[in-house]
Symmetry: C2
Subunit: 130 residues, 2 copies
DNA sequence: ATTGACCTTCCAGAGACTGGAAGCCTTATT
DNA sequence: AATAAGGCTTCCAGTCTCTGGAAGGTCAAT
């Protein structure tokens, strides 16, 4: 299967798939004409990575997940640990964003937002007087 | 004031301050010896950017905020619009992360996490059977 | 034979820094 | 006066995950 179809099937842009090959996440074969030739296994891996990325796993985490996936003697505990660590990162990010959201929405609320220049948002950014 | 002290006062690493000069966010003067010489205004701008960045504004948004800050004839509506747009981005990010969190925590919950190989997390990533 | 859609490689850029190397300047100590 | 420590300078390269574009080869259909 050519890269265009692999892209459709996996939900990844062709460019991204080439990049994933570059960094060794997948290793499709080559047809006689030099085109990449994706097997079912390759497609499966691409879709796997696509889902893992959509859950926010980094490329290196995806690599680790793929190798666990390939390892029939893996311990599910290893997978769970990886996922839990990532979950913790997600939660940290959410908390950070919520803090931003709170501060910023307070500033936005205070700003009348008309054609006059005085602005609590700029004041807040400037002097810290939140 | 030298860059080291400016870094302490603004809460930004010296490297970052040099970078901000490179991209034209600040333009400190130079002392006779070639060292950057930060005025109170420079410091103020750096602290301003530091706060804006900590609220998640991009560099270009910071640049726009700074120029609004410098413009005594600004309309506070312009600032508010910028802030509201950014707030919407933050909220979008939070929603995305919460979706990830939900899916992933369900998978983590289902995984027994012992030394056996079967693992609902990998299954979920693999086949989409959430 | 020619078009158009596909494929290939390679190079560059995005955003926002961050690290390191090589070398000058300042300050304090010996 | 010499030296050492620390701060400052510039410049180059790398991080992370793609994404766009250019130059050119291949395939299917007309």
């Amino acid at each position: 299967m050519n890269i265009g179809d692999a892209a459709l099937q996996s939900g990844l842009p062709a460019k991204t798939i080439r990049y994933y090959e570059d960094i060794g996440l997948v290793a499709p074969g080559r047809a006689g004409n030099g085109y990449r030739d994706f097997s079912d296994t390759d497609l499966h891996k691409l879709a796997f990575v696509q889902r893992a990325r959509s859950l926010g796993f980094s490329i290196e985490e995806c690599r680790a997940l793929l190798s666990l996936y390939d390892d029939r003697d893996r311990a599910s505990a290893d997978v769970k640990d990886l996922a839990k660590a990532h979950l913790a990162q997600i939660e940290e990010k959410i908390l950070g964003l919520q803090t931003m959201q709170k501060t910023l929405s307070e500033l936005v609320y205070k700003c009348h937002g008309d054609d006059r220049p005085d602005c609590p948002i700029l004041d807040g950014l400037s002097g810290g007087k939140t």
